[in-house]
């Protein structure tokens, strides 16, 4: 991304830093190295870093690659690559617990955290499976396989129909039950006092 006002951007970022911390003693990281002229970064093109550029902005799916997969294909992928650890129908296996169910459990005494109950955005499935699964050979699955198995997990959770096709367009549109389940950090949330005598 190009910007004619790079310096303005940097100054803006520094302003955020002060606003965020409000800290009079913030270390002067930039000024400490300001006298050095070392600039050794080598320009790299988007094409040359494409193999690394795998993050998905999950709220809108930005970064999702071309490709597609069906729930049925996902079941086959799951049973070949995932079932050994996660168990049949994603109900839990020898290494990992259930990846289905839990919707509605967060207001009970036992919160069942699964992709279906917890993820606010469906592309989290694609991002995480592609980068980290299967655990013994991560980043080995094709985009089609990842779309497919994402769709299968969503289907097991009742969030897409059995004939769903997952791709860069459809996956971000899946409405996740916990989308509005998050609140931003509001701490400090306690106001403990320093009692020294007769405290009980």
């Amino acid at each position: 991304m190009r910007s004619p006002s790079v310096l303005a951007g940097a100054a803006l970022a520094a302003g955020f830093a002060l606003a965020l911390t409000g800290c009079a003693t913030a270390p002067s990281a930039t000024s400490a190295s300001a006298k050095s002229d070392v600039r050794l970064g080598k320009p790299i093109s988007a094409a040359d870093l494409a193999a690394w550029d795998i993050d998905i902005r999950t709220s809108d799916g930005r970064g999702l690659p071309p490709g597609r997969g069906t729930v049925a294909e996902g079941k086959a992928v799951y049973e070949a690559q995932c079932i050994a650890c996660h168990g049949a129908d994603a109900k839990g296996g020898p290494v990992y617990g259930a990846m289905v169910g839990g919707v509605g459990s967060f207001k009970t005494g036992t919160r069942v955290v699964t992709p279906g109950s917890m993820y606010p955005y469906a592309p989290i499935l694609f991002d995480y499976i592609r980068r980290a699964m299967p655990m013994d050979r991560p980043q080995s699955m094709s985009a089609n396989e990842v779309y497919a198995v994402s769709g299968y997990i969503l289907n097991l959770n009742g969030l897409v129909p059995a004939d769903a096709v997952m791709d860069a367009s459809s996956l971000p549109k899946v409405m996740m039950p916990n989308r509005d389940g998050f609140i931003v950090d509001d701490r400090p949330d306690t106001q403990a006092k320093r009692c020294m005598q007769n405290c009980l």
Binding site: R2, S3, A8, G9, A10, L12, A13, F16, A19, L20, T21, C23, T25, A26, P27, A29, T30, A32, S33, S36, V38, R39, L40, G41, K42, I44, S45, L49, I54, I56, R57, T58, S59, F106, K107, G109, R111, P115, M118, Y119, P120, I124, R131, A132, M135, P138, N178, G181, F182, I183, D185, R187, T190, A192, R194, M196, Q197, N198, C199, L200
Partner: protein, 430 residues
Amino acid sequence: MSRIVAPSDTSPAANSAGPFGDRRNFLRKGMAIAGGAAAAGAGLAHAAPLAIPDSNKAFGKPIAETDYGMPSKYEADVKRRRTDVFKNRQNYSDWSFTPLADQHGTVTPNGLIYERHHNGTPDIDPATHRLVIHGMVRQPLEFSMDDLMRYPSVSRFHFMECSGNGLTDWLKAASKTVQQTHGLLSGGQWTGIPVSRLLDEAGVAPGAKWVIFEGADGSAHLRSIPIAKAMDDCLLVYALNGEKLRAENGYPLRLFVPGWEGNVSVKWLRRIKVGDEPWYVRGETARYTDPMPDGKWRIFSFDMECKSVITRPSGGMNIQAGNHEIQGFAWSGKGSITAVDVTTDGGKTWKEAVLEGPVMNKSLTRFRAPWNWDGRPTTIASRAVDSTGYVQPTVAEIAKVRAIVGFVQHHNGVFPWSVSAAGEVKNAIA
């Protein structure tokens, strides 16, 4: 109450000058060393006659041509340990604890820094490792480790703590030792390059607000953080406590985010991408979030709030009646420690402990308080205060505003140890 800080080089007189240490305590010390009934009935036991030790009468081990020193064989029990409460069914996404009761000073030895990995420790050759910065920048850049070593470096003392430290011990005493209750905590001197330096070189675009950091491990672990924090005090770290990072701590390069939960300090760092919104990845939505009332979850709770724990005496130890020096750690992700209070009567009364200097920003701080235990069952605990004025709360106070249910992060509650009449020290969280 004014802050009490002893210099790190303290004399016995300075030791006895604090609110805990009066002259009478100091004079009594000799009386109580033998402890209990023996001291009361028969006076001090006499030491046995001394023989010349074998070590005085033989060659020592010669100096090797090259060597890397290791701990004494007599310290073989001082080791990191995996959890013995919340046992994972694999040991790749797992964790191990620092033996805090055996840590002296505020620097955790590199072999004892706690571990939390999401797919084990990768083997990365620094000659082939690369760091990339891209996204909302003027010019995407790639750096080799040789490149990075040529930049001006800074070294800073900071603690690092996992957000999950203490998660097994909110409402019941599940863990036995302070290693298990609090050992996802370490401290040290981190050396590297300010993140701001390299972001400035790449040229951050207007409108950039968040940055994602991604590892080269088998989980490609990643977290997004506000760019303001990245520009403020975050470091690209390649060394810890005077030597290059150990493999399990991110060799050859990691992010270090002072004062924030450990999992944002991404190890084995390969990529930095600048953006205008959070990415909401699995780690920051489904894992490192806090259950809140009404079925909600608190997200982006980065700060590790002010906390303390007594490490001596602590769970699993046996003590005798008489004089002791209560010792422990205090730390805050939002500043420096200004005071630590200690109770030895189960919370009825508290007295201010002595802080051992230097007391540094977002760093482990040691405290100590003399204690003459009368041999009756009691409970001891510590409570820290930081430079924002925040006072470490009890679990009961935290439970009023959060939902303590399931896998709960960010436990900074006051942590009690009970002492039985037999001198057994036990976890007394509930």
